[in-house]
Amino acid sequence: MNPPPEPPFSPVDSGSEPDPIPGSRPESPSGSAEREDLLLRYRAGDEAAFEELVEWMGPRLLGYFLRQGASPSVADDLVQRVFVRVLQNLDRYRPQGRLDAWLLRIARNLWIDRTRRKRPLLRFDEDLDAEDPRPGPDAMAVAADRAAALRDALRRLDPASRELLELAVLQRLPYGEVARLLGVPVGTVKSRVHYALRRLRSLLPPESP
């Protein structure tokens, strides 16, 4: 799987309703417009804009890489490489879409390059999920902790569903952005999100009454 290029970001439906994901709470719109102009401000010489960008997107990118299976040190390194690549491609950036989607596209390309070159340190077995949808022993041990069970179930998802939930649910990207990033129709993204959530639900231990 070759990572798609990182063109000047121009989403199909960037102006559409933000994130109609099941259960999503739209991100607070306050400050979102300013964030879209962070790179423009930096390109104009505002050094603080880049600091703000790191503060905003750094934790999100770190969480993205960790949930994709990277070790903490690798995830830290990859986040830094994302920002380096952002500055290297600063001239190509066109403020036509969501800035976070552009950064996530860079992150996804880096992760694809890395997994193609080298297996991730924490590797998930897709077959295990396919053969045995029940929680594993570890998940059973932490079943009392709902959050831990959710994280465990997320790790046990197949990589495609995990990436979909990562982008659509955790990163709160609109369906249009996700569809453009993954190269699939918007309708497919919607159905796959439903499917991934159902799969996630099936991997959870039964809730204690």
Partner: protein, 245 residues
Amino acid sequence: MTDRPHLPEEAEAVPDAAERAELERLADELRAACRDPELAPDFRERLALRLRRAPMWRRTLRRSVTARLAASVLVLLLAAGPIAAVALFWPELVAPRVLLGFEPTPPPPAPARPADAPPPPVVPPPDERFGPEWETALLRANRMARAARSWRQAGAAAPLPGHAVVVADWDLADAEALWNEFVRRCATGQTDAPEPELVARVRALAAEADPEAMEALAPWLWVLDGQPTTVGPGRAWPGAPWPAD
């Protein structure tokens, strides 16, 4: 993820309101369970250091003509070493072996002569070309050269050519005109053998045997025959060769 995995039919099913609410709650729980971690305390310092080290070649090259020029020179310099090494160990690449040889070329085809073209001049054989006429003309030219040399050596004592009379026909020239012509030819270095018309006029005047005319014709008779005149020393200048001959 561009490939579409085969999903079960229930995956395509649109959730009803109850399930949708449940999935929404599940998504919220997932989001709450997977909060983004904090960056390392020294993340920004390491990032700043990395950005300082990271080459922003593309941006620099795009903006600076000097940088593009420098990069081109650098690439040429880097490539010059290997190219020179290859050329050194493989000299035939740079200086291909030169084979000396002679490749005869066929003579050009003879130009086609038109049918009405004049015939080419016939060159007489050597015996005819260098016969008595040629020898006589050569001796006369030599005598004219000797006469011209004596005229130059006489300096101020040499006579100047008289007022030149344009002679349209040598048959009309008298002895005085022929004398002036002789002096003129010596003064101008015209040492060719006299032309047949002039020779005929000198002979005709000499046949009249007028003593005064013979005085003026003496240099011409010497040039023509190489013999001194019999009627007298003839008209001459100091050092002239014909009285002595």
